[in-house]
Every structure is written in structure tokens, then in C-alpha cells.
């Protein structure tokens, strides 16, 4: 059922018929989705809706990375999981749910903590990587690995009532380090366990991450300039688009003369790691 090539099965034609009807997607677009592989790093608040819609829309291969287990306090936003999966590995819980929704999606679960020793090996070969993580150290790690492997990075984040969305390392645009060359002080990096988050905020951002993946895979994204989408429950309007700089020639990782040419110790670099959240 995990076919590739230039033809959809009759079953797939029935299943994706509502997307085949859209001129901007159509058979060509649906085949591109089917022949793509996407790695979603993090199976939490952002990863839940993002992976759900990537699987439902017909992405052929979906990788999931997370080292955490489902906790009751996750369920207000991590809607891929269930009460019964509390205590179970998040990627196992997520893969089960995704396969229930679509057996056509080849889901690969990596129940590990992504770090500088395994990141490139896990990420290599994917067409797009989605950053759905929850800490600065992993965000720098995923960014640097994407630059080194030449993979576009769809990065989302959500804290309290606010969300942000950017595509990095794509089409001459910036990488995460072009924007944020220096990591923030550890005490300044608010995360969801300390400062909270309203469940639907990562829901909105995660859906939009899935949409950005579709735009990249179907090549529509080529026409757009680098931008940052700001979302807030608190602001009116709720959404604003900010024009971003292009790639910085002086960037330490994606610049003309990079000084960071291999993955480093990101926990030391940021002064805090994934397990401090």
C-alpha cells in the first residue's frame, strides 16, 4: 500500500478524490505528496495536528521523533494521544493513531532523544523536516542538521496564547541561526510546562505547519518571500505576517564561510537541554 511511482492506486484515487478536484493540487500534486517523506520532530502539541493532517492528506512516508511518554497534562493540546496511552511512548501512541487514520501512510517511529550523535542519521533522506519541538537546544540542533543536509525546515512554536511559524533554509531565505545567532539565556526561554499554553494554540500552528509542508512539496512555496507568521489569541487581528531577511552571508552555519560545520553540544551551547523542560 506504500506505493511510489507515477500512478495512484484506485483506492488512493477514491480516498483523495476531494483533493484531486482542486486544480492547484490535482493528480500531480497528490503524487508529489505520496512520493514525499516528511520528518516531524516532536509528537506533542504541534506534532499532533501536524502529523494528523500530513498523514490524512496523503504524505507517503512520515517519520516521528520523540523520546517522551504521554502524560495526562499533555492531553489538553496533544490530541493525537489518548488517556489510555498515558505512560506510553509518544511516538508509539502517535504511530498507532496515525495508522488507524491512514494505513496508506508509512509511519516510522523513532523513540529516541534527538541529539548531535544521531540527528543526521535520522534526518537524512527526508524531503522536509518539521520542527515541532519544545526547547531551544533541539531547535538549534534541528536547524544546523537541516542546513548541513540541505533540507527545508518548517518551524513552529507555541507558548501561552502566542504562536510563530517560519520556513527556514529554503529558497535563499534565512536559517534559524541567521535570525538568532546567539541562544537566549536559559532563564529567558519560556516553555509550555512552566508558563502554560492554551490547547488550541499549537493546534492552529501545527495545522499551518502541515500546510507549509504541502506548499513546499507541491512547489508553490517557491513563489513566496521569507516571512514569519505571528499568531496570538490576544491580538487583533489574530494573524500578522512579517517580512524576513534573506540568508545571511555571515551566518555561522549557512553563511559563505561557516564556522559551524558539524553538530555541536547544543545543551552546553544553550545552557539548558530538552530534559530541563
Amino acid at each position: 500500500r506504500h506505493a511510489t511511482g507515477n500512478k495512484l492506486s484506485n483506492e488512493a484515487i477514491g480516498r483523495y478524490s476531494r483533493q484531486l478536484l482542486i486544480p492547484e493540487i490535482g493528480m500531480q500534486g497528490q503524487l508529489k505528496l505520496r512520493n514525499s517523506s516528511v520528518l516531524v520532530v516532536g509528537s506533542g502539541g504541534l506534532g499532533s495536528p501536524c502529523a494528523l493532517y500530513l498523514a490524512s492528506m496523503g504524505i507517503g512516508r512520515l517519520g516521528l521523533v520523540d523520546h517522551d511518554v504521554v502524560d495526562q497534562s499533555n492531553l489538553h493540546r496533544q490530541v493525537l494521544h489518548t488517556e489510555a496511552s498515558c505512560g506510553v511512548s509518544k511516538v508509539v501512541s502517535a504511530a498507532t493513531a496515525l495508522t488507524r487514520l491512514s494505513s496508506m501512510c508509512d509511519v516510522r517511529a523513532h523513540d529516541v532523544l534527538l541529539d548531535s550523535t544521531n540527528a543526521k542519521e535520522i534526518m537524512r533522506g527526508y524531503d522536509v523536516v518539521v520542527d515541532a519541538t519544545d526547547n531551544a537546544a533541539t531547535r538549534y540542533l534541528v536547524n544546523d542538521a537541516c542546513v548541513m543536509l540541505g533540507i527545508p525546515l518548517v518551524s513552529g512554536s507555541a507558548v501561552r496564547l502566542d504562536g510563530q511559524l517560519t520556513v527556514y533554509n529554503y529558497n535563499g531565505g534565512p536559517c534559524y541561526r541567521c535570525l538568532f545567532p546567539t541562544p537566549p539565556a536559559p532563564d529567558a526561554t519560556a516553555n509550555c510546562s512552566e508558563t502554560g499554553v492554551l490547547g488550541v494554540v499549537p493546534g492552529v500552528i501545527g495545522c499551518l505547519q502541515a500546510m507549509e509542508v504541502v506548499k513546499i512539496v507541491t512547489e508553490r512555496k517557491r513563489e513566496e518571500e521569507p516571512s514569519l507568521l505571528l499568531f496570538s489569541y490576544r491580538s487583533q487581528p489574530h494573524f500578522r505576517k512579517i517580512k524576513l531577511r534573506m540568508r545571511k552571508p555571515t551566518c555561522a552555519v549557512c553563511g559563505d564561510s561557516p564556522t559551524v560545520t558539524g553538530l555541536v553540544d547544543y545543551v552546553a551551547f544553550c545552557g539548558a537541554g530538552p530534559s530541563d523542560n
Partner: protein, 113 residues
């Protein structure tokens, strides 16, 4: 030369850097903060630039550890500056020559998910 009337916005957590009394005055103890401030059109005999605004904010609005906000040409990590809807690096960054009625925003990058 006329003074520069500027709209300053702080959001996504950047508002937490601002003095409590200023946030209370603005009526937003929680949530996005919007302020209006007037700066002279010239600073030290030269046109006022974004860098001068950062020093003004550091000296007048920031709650504590002011030098962490902006010192020795370095802005606090994780803060993005947006001038009239664009990343300030699309404009001239710290050297951007401020105009009357400009809107300058400060947002914190978010790491959670």
C-alpha cells in the same frame, strides 16, 4: 527638525521585560503592550537611528538588568526587532534612520510547542 513620534510594541513575551508601572499605565498587566514615545530627530548631532531607540528603551523602559537588553551593540538574544512590519535586517538594522510615525516592535522568539 521635528521630533519623532514612535509607536513601540512588545509582544510574545517581550512585554515582560518592561517596567511594571509602565505596563500598568498602559492598562495591560497581561498581554501585548503598545506605547507611544517621542524621541528627538537628532542624537549627538546625527539623525536618530534604531540603535539610539534601543538605548532609550534600555534606559527608560526595561525593568531590570538593563544592560542585558542592549549593551555594546548587542541586543538581547531571542528578541526580534520589527520596523513597520519588516524584520529590521531588511531595513538597515541598528543603523536604520528612524522616521516620524514609525512602528517598532519587539517580539520574543518562542521555543515551546
Amino acid at each position: 527638525m521635528e521630533d519623532l513620534k514612535l509607536t513601540l510594541k512588545f509582544s510574545s513575551g517581550a512585554e515582560l521585560m518592561i517596567k511594571d508601572e509602565i505596563r500598568a499605565d498602559a492598562g495591560t498587566k497581561t498581554g501585548d503592550l503598545e506605547l507611544t514615545r517621542t524621541l528627538p530627530a537628532t542624537t549627538d548631532g546625527k539623525p536618530t537611528i534604531a540603535k539610539d531607540l534601543l538605548e532609550f528603551i534600555r534606559d527608560n523602559l526595561i525593568k531590570d538588568r538593563q544592560e542585558d537588553f542592549y549593551d555594546k551593540e548587542k541586543l538581547r538574544p531571542g528578541i526580534l526587532v520589527i520596523i513597520n512590519g519588516s524584520d529590521w535586517e531588511v531595513e538597515d538594522g541598528p543603523e536604520y534612520r528612524l522616521q516620524n510615525n514609525d512602528t517598532v516592535e519587539f517580539i520574543s522568539t518562542l521555543h515551546g510547542g
